[in-house]
Amino acid sequence: MPFDPSSPDRAPQWRPQLHRRDVLKGGAFAAAGLGAAPLLAACGGDDGNSPAGSSGAYPLARPDAPVTLPIFDDNQPIESGLQPEKADALRVLNYADYMAPGVMKDFQEKYGAEVQVTPYNNYDEMLTKISAPGAEFDVVFPGPSVMSRMVYGKLLQPFQQSYLPNLKNAWPEYQDPWYDQGSQYSVPYTVYTTGIGYRSDRVSDPSEGYKMLWNPEYSGKMGVLDDAGEALGMAMLAWDITQDINTGDPELINAAKDKLNELIPLGVKVDITQYETIANGKFTVHQAWSGDMIAARWYLAQGATTEDLGYWVPESKSDVVIGNDNICIPKSSPSPVLAHTFLNEVLDNQIAEKNFNWNGYQPPLDKLNAEYLIDEGYITENLMSAVVVPEDFATGIKFYEQTPAVENLYLAAFQEFQSGGN
């Protein structure tokens, strides 16, 4: 197998655009004024004005600086009016246990394609898998914090809106979100907050909040999310390091890392199966997403009841970490019409309700509002703290897309923590 490293078809998918030293130097140039009109991910020597596609620069969307993602000439939406492909499989790249098996089975029965889930633990892993040469996926579930990168890296394909009539079921703000104006690449999947899940029958004082994790009482029985941003951000908030969980300041990130390192002697675990492990008693406290605790009722050990589950988020709405996940269609999708159909199905009120019943994550659909879900008995009294309403997004703390340099600071700090600190 002869190879010529310089030949263009051997060249990696993306042009070089960052010098590693710039990235390693840290966020020196990265923290530069958040909130300035569409920020561009800085990159050495690139003025950021070069036409998208050849440039690696990508805009950093913020609620006060919304972004319309470009549609590239070589990455156009599919035609409208096509029949869904007759595929054997719909390849989904998703978190494990993030979609109800029943919903996927129904889809298979209706369209003949088996829904195959390839799981990942965090966006870093997701990006690696989806960008691997030869990777073919039909559906992926990224959050706003990776949208630009994925679009500019040409990993996603723009929608043909005519296949997505059910998008009208979504909350108005998600029909035209700030990170993807006009919903050209994404439809909303879930909304959630990040807090602390716990066993109320074993925890003495849940009002400790985040600091429950640092309480030696629960040593060996606690864990944090396997997600650099979530874990470090939580440490920042818990110890008043900063309220800005998107900070690019290496000192603040380091301070948060040091706090996480304090958890190591306490036997911390790093995973995202808290919906199961809190319920079955393996953990007493674990950083968790709100949906996990609502879903935890399916995993309760014998003798435990939903009454034993608890979920803590800060009292003040403005201190709550809140987020949402989207569904997108990868550019590599072999069955794009089927993928559109799948997205549309998931936005269907009934199907979304069935899905919510299983995975516990609220879909941002008007009909499935908090009142309805509580009335239907999906959310019990003790888990009211896990409910998300649209207004929370105006006040809550959100994760934003970062420059590669800042991103790297977070990942490096988190890896240090995962490697046992020092």
Binding site: Q116, A132, D271, E276
Partner: protein, 332 residues
């Protein structure tokens, strides 16, 4: 040989005039009648070692038996026993069945488990079919061909054997995602990876046999008028068959067993193998269905092994030595 420790404690070695060794008095003393302490008797039965061995065997196999036991557990737990059921194997179809939608076979099956089982078996067979001919040819070539180049090739071909799978796996992963991008992660990458780690031990096994055969038989055949290729085909290859067969078995088993390389090289869920599935499921939400899957795989391996044993035994008849020794003779 004279230096081997035969001197009695505390005694100087002495020799007579002719240089013959004179045993110290202690050694010539006739043994006391009656009781001989066990450490004095070299021919006693080695009870202590036997005990250690049997304890080791218990320790190494009982956990596996327990894992099999829990594949029949009538509860979602893999550690506390709750009664007997076969639902994890088949047909957890009824609403409310503990194995609903997660059993290995049948209508209520979790398709991912069966897919993984099929993938593992296919991958094992394909790997064996590709790797055994290449490895055998390499063994023939490297054993008989002597030159400077062959020495280099020899050293290179042994390296994969001693390279930790983690190193091989990450190397293949990096090169397939950056250089050999036409291959792409997935089935082809898995086959290439598995063949790569298999070639070396096929080489070692077949070469071991080749060296013990020597080249006399071929030479004789050639002297009797056979061409070299005829000599190989009609004389050498038949003699190599047990080694080739054993290496095929081991390749197949190693491919089924491999986790690290597969975990690096699988592309998406449709190409996942059983070990990769077991690993990710143990990290996420394990259920006895995994034990059932592992048990099925184990039964498969044991059947294949038994077949090999019987075949080797049949061939071995009259040759002396045991087939088990053939299988154990995998000194890597």
């Amino acid at each position: 040989m004279t230096t081997v420790g035969i001197d009695a404690p505390g005694a100087e070695k002495t020799w007579d005039d002719t240089g013959r060794y004179v045993p110290p008095p202690a050694a010539i003393k006739p043994p006391k009648k009656g009781f001989v302490p066990p450490w004095r008797n070299p021919w006693r039965r080695p009870y202590v070692l036997a005990t250690i061995t049997w304890l080791y065997i218990l320790w190494s196999l009982v956990p596996v038996l327990i894992a099999i036991q829990f594949s029949f557990n009538d509860s979602r737990s893999r550690s506390s026993w709750n009664g007997f059921t076969t639902e994890w194997y088949c047909c957890g179809t009824e609403e409310g069945s503990i194995a609903e939608g997660t059993s290995v076979f049948g209508a209520g099956a979790n398709d991912a488990l069966l897919t993984a089982l099929q993938n593992s078996l296919t991958l094992g067979v394909v790997t064996t079919l590709i790797a055994v001919p290449i490895g055998t040819a390499l063994a023939l070539g490297l054993t008989r061909w002597r030159s400077r180049t062959s020495n280099v090739a020899n050293a290179v071909s042994l390296f994969p054997l001693v390279t930790p799978e983690l190193v091989l796996g990450s190397a293949l992963y990096l090169v397939i995602t950056t250089l050999y991008t036409q291959i792409g992660l997935g089935r082809n990458a898995l086959i290439l990876g598995h063949v790569t780690f298999s070639i070396s031990f096929i080489l070692v096994i077949v070469r071991g046999r080749l060296v013990s055969i020597g080249s006399e038989f071929e030479t004789a055949a050639q002297d009797l008028g056979a061409t070299r290729i005829q000599a190989i085909r009609t004389v050498l290859l038949p003699m190599l068959i047990p080694a080739i067969f054993a290496s095929a078995m081991i390749t197949f088993a190693a491919s089924l067993d491999d986790f690290v390389v597969s975990n690096f090289l699988f592309g998406d869920a449709s190409q996942i193998t059983v070990p990769v599935l077991l690993y990710s499921a143990v990290k996420a939400a394990p259920s006895p269905a995994l034990n059932a899957l592992a048990t099925i795989l184990l039964m498969g391996t044991l059947t294949a092994l038994l077949l090999t044993y019987l075949v080797l035994r049949l061939r071995r008849r009259g040759e002396g030595g045991s087939a088990l020794d053939d299988l154990a003779g995998v000194e890597m």
